[in-house]
Amino acid sequence: MPDVLRPSKWLHFNSRLLAAATLAGLLSLSVCAQQAAPPKPVIVQPGAPGQPTRELPSTTRATLPPGSPADVQFMQGMIMHHAQAVEMTALIDSHTENKNLRSLGARISRSQSDEIKFMKRWLTARGQSTEHDMSGMKGHDMPGMDMSKHEMLMPGMLTAKQMEALRNAKGQEFDRLFLRGMIQHHTGALTMVKDLFDTAGAGQDAELFNFTTEVDSGQRAEIRIMQTMLGEKP
């Protein structure tokens, strides 16, 4: 606190200090002026390149870009998609002793469970159902979509037949099927992200944008690791 705010220091003066008091008063004003010199922070909004920057009122508040139904459908579909990855990784412990695969599976399981949680939070916070409604789904030509046996699958999801084959395999055969299956599964997630951003007005929500970008990069990286693992044991 500046000295000028401690009146006790100043109020004990006698009548002969009139001049001094006046001076002190003026001084304190000038100190005040310095204190107040940095004005309140300004809020400004630049224009397009070459255009002027304009000042906004201090009461300006943020607004959000519009949400899109495609965002909601994406999240609902991805929950279902991720759930299958978790189901696949749950087979690992009883089906193979491969240490690298066990470690990879544990990480995929953890990541995808955590992401399911995130997607449910995202949907619930926006007052949306966490269940997927297939009727509104677009892109019926997506790879992995297999409608022939009334299976409703998101892109890249393993069919009932593929899941069955995985459950029945053991050891090296399981490893191979798991890695191929998970590569197919992850690749489907990349398709889902691409389709989302190919939809007008979609993906403007910051959290959704970051999440999808992360799913995209994270799964690309994991696909690469799995491809390397497949290559190591032909």
Partner: protein, 678 residues
């Protein structure tokens, strides 16, 4: 008292009142006083009960620890801090919290009251149906748009700190760090809005789909729903191109610090997740920006020439490359992309390995090689850059800045996502980070392995990267704290490799990686979770040392300022020596070589280190200290200078038998003794 006296007193009191008013007004926007810096551990909230399990917001503990892995330390004082937005429990060692400057209102929901119409309006904008909203817990309603207003990365110049925010940018006056002041808030949404600064120019990365050329906040309204595709072969129609959309790097003129003016907006196909300022020692007229895009490739109708096809289908694909922007300093409005180096070009050989899957349709089983960098750190003094590129860490030759070339690439089975990199000052080590989960998830729980979401330290020899060890902030964090390795900078203590690093809600950790095989934490700061019962995005995005203080960008809370305090692992001399390093600008990803003056305090720092490492016996340490004290007391008189000089040869002899770190210290110490500076 006579009348004149009365007038004088009145005048004086008026001045006081006036001044008090002004000071109060000033204080209203000045720092929140920091709570006690000492370790302050409160008991955490009780574990979520069964009812909460059904709640999608209830945080979830990690599954069992995978075999052979070690988790995080639950006995650490940081493991059980009490929750709170602005009153969370805190724990610190070796770091003194100086202040927290809260985010300005415009970068927040702007209300603590869920019933405030502002909050309801914001929720409406997010598309929530009112009847569903009514069912949400009130606290939830307050915290759902966090990332749209998240603070991001920082840059520094002179007395100014630039802090990006997904919604724009804040500029602070840090001439007195303990009284850091907000000068200006710039509204310009687009995320992440990572910033760099060079002279009168400021650069900002934009990637998100709502970014507009004119910094508008309205985004792009979705068109009316298109008719559903009728047949299985009918392609989804492309969305309309948005000529006003901006994804790339904005360039501002900051000559008027409170009113930056946009002078250029360089569009790129994938936008700019981050960028790195690159200066060419041989070219003073231009600077370069390496643009790392990690997001979707936009359609050619929106930006000509953009293609997201696989390289075998389109050799001009925007994947598998970075973009290089050249900025002419005399005419920044002419900045443009001058090259798009394919740093990953020979890595798509893995094609053959995965073909022949049961799903024969296009794209179902195409290989996904690394096709992007997340962040690149350049070290122009060495002509090198380290790229953290999704599935790989890569080493790049940047001697020709417009045409970088890959020298080496590594991957790691424990690494999910290569995020960022720092060189040691001598360029012999690289510290990479793995942002497993992208920072949105809780990944430092008791059962999260300490090799996942960690730093990986590599030795760098003959342009080859060789793995040495992992480092992860050791304290277990709550299930409701997003936590993983994130951005940091070197801390310029001579004789040691120290990094001050942000771990989101895991706080700040200072790691010593002088011994690449055995990294060790020497200081930390941490707060409890924002909420105990729900993961709310927050924590430190980045923590950087700048001219004597540590500044940390807190995603949800604001801007933190710290000072180092001495501990057995870091002495006052070492801190004082670090404070000697003063720079006029700091863009952490454009790493500058640190050089220390040959001052006696630097010598004292080395002596402290030699004592700690037992690199010299106690009697010699004492003799060295006495010689330095003598020289200080006599203000480097000729006699004392001669005494110091005479000690140098014995130090050089000792260096021959010392460990690599102590060799460096002994030789540097001998050098100071030979030519000490005032």
């Amino acid at each position: 008292m006579n009348r004149v006296q009365n007038i004088a007193i009145r005048l004086f009191i008026t001045c006081l009142v006036l001044c008090a008013g002004l000071v109060t007004a000033t204080l209203a926007q000045t720092p929140t006083p920091s709570p006690s810096p000492s370790v302050e551990v409160k008991v955490d909230a009780k574990p979520a009960d069964k009812a909460a399990q059904a709640d999608p917001f209830a945080p979830e503990p990690a599954g069992p620890l995978p075999a052979g892995m070690t988790g995080s330390d639950t006995n650490d004082p940081r493991a059980k801090l009490s929750p709170g937005m602005f009153d969370a429990g805190e724990a610190a060692v070796g770091l003194k919290h100086v202040l927290l400057l809260k985010k300005p209102d415009i970068f927040q929901l702007g209300s603590d009251d869920p019933n405030d119409p502002k909050v309801q309006k914001m929720l409406g904008q997010m598309g929530a149906p009112p009847e569903e909203l009514a069912k949400l817990p009130k606290t939830t309603q307050l915290v759902i748009a966090q990332l749209a207003f998240a603070n991001s990365d920082m840059a520094f110049q002179g007395n100014h700190l630039f802090q990006g925010n997904f919604y724009g940018l804040n500029i602070f006056d840090i001439s007195n760090p303990a009284k850091t002041k907000l000068l200006s808030t710039i509204v310009c949404p687009g995320g992440q809005n990572d910033v760099s600064v060079y002279k009168n120019l400021l650069f900002m990365s934009v990637e998100q789909a709502n970014g507009r050329v004119d910094c508008g906040t309205q985004g792009f309204p979705p068109p009316p729903p298109a008719p559903k595709p009728t047949g299985p072969d009918e392609k989804q129609p492309l969305p309309p191109a948005q000529k006003d959309r901006f994804r790339g790097v904005r360039i501002f003129d900051i000559s008027d610090i409170t009113k930056p003016k946009q002078v250029a907006a360089v569009q790129t196909c994938r936008g700019s997740h981050t960028h790195t300022l690159v200066t060419d020692p041989n070219d003073k007229n231009n600077v370069y920006l390496y643009v790392s895009g990690t997001s979707f490739v936009r359609q050619a109708e929106e930006l000509a020439g953009c293609s997201g096809e696989a390289p075998d289908k389109d050799p001009n694909t925007a994947l598998f490359r970075i973009d290089v922007i050249k900025v002419p300093l005399a005419s920044p409005q002419d900045a443009k992309v001058v090259s798009s180096p394919r740093l990953f070009s020979d890595q798509s050989k893995l094609d053959a390995l995965t073909n022949g899957g049961s799903h024969g349709k296009d794209g179902a089983e195409k290989p996904q090689a690394t096709d992007q960098c997340h962040d690149i750190t350049v070290y122009s003094a060495l002509g090198l850059a380290a790229g953290a590129c999704s599935g790989n860490g890569i080493l790049i030759d940047i001697k020709d800045p417009a045409n970088p070339k890959r020298l080496d690439a590594v991957n790691d089975p424990n690494y999910a996502y290569w995020h960022s990199a720092s060189f040691s000052n001598d360029g012999k080590k690289v510290l990479f980070t793995d942002e497993w989960g992208g920072g949105l998830g809780a990944r430092c729980r008791a059962n999260d392995p300490n090799k996942w979401g960690a730093d990986a330290i590599f030795n760098l020899e003959n342009n080859k990267l060789k793995f040495a060890s992992y480092y992860k902030m050791p304290a277990a964090q709550a299930d409701s704290e997003n936590c993983v390795a994130h951005n940091g900078s070197l801390l310029p203590v001579p004789g040691r490799d120290l990094e001050v690093q942000a771990w989101y809600q895991g706080g700040i950790s200072v790691v010593d990686f002088t011994d690449a095989e055995h990294p060790m934490e020497i200081a930390y700061f941490d707060r409890g979770p924002i909420f105990a019962n729900m993961l709310v995005l927050g924590g430190h995005w980045s923590s950087y040392w700048y001219n004597g203080h540590i500044y940390a960008s807190e995603i949800a809370r604001g801007l933190d300022v710290f000072e180092l305090t001495p501990t057995k692992n870091l002495t006052q001399n070492e801190i004082d020596a670090a404070k000697l390093v003063q720079v006029s600008e700091l863009n952490v990803q454009n790493q500058q070589k640190i050089e220390w003056p040959r001052k006696l305090v630097v010598a004292k720092a080395y002596i402290d280190q030699l004592e700690r490492s037992q690199g010299l016996p106690a009697d010699r340490i004492l003799a060295l200290r006495q010689a330095v004290q003598g020289a200080e007391a006599m203000k480097l008189s000729a006699t004392e200078m001669a005494k110091l000089r005479n000690l140098a040869p014995s130090l050089e002899t000792a260096a021959r038998a010392a460990s690599p770190a102590d060799t460096t210290r002994l030789l540097a110490l001998a050098d100071i003794f030979k030519h000490p500076e005032h």
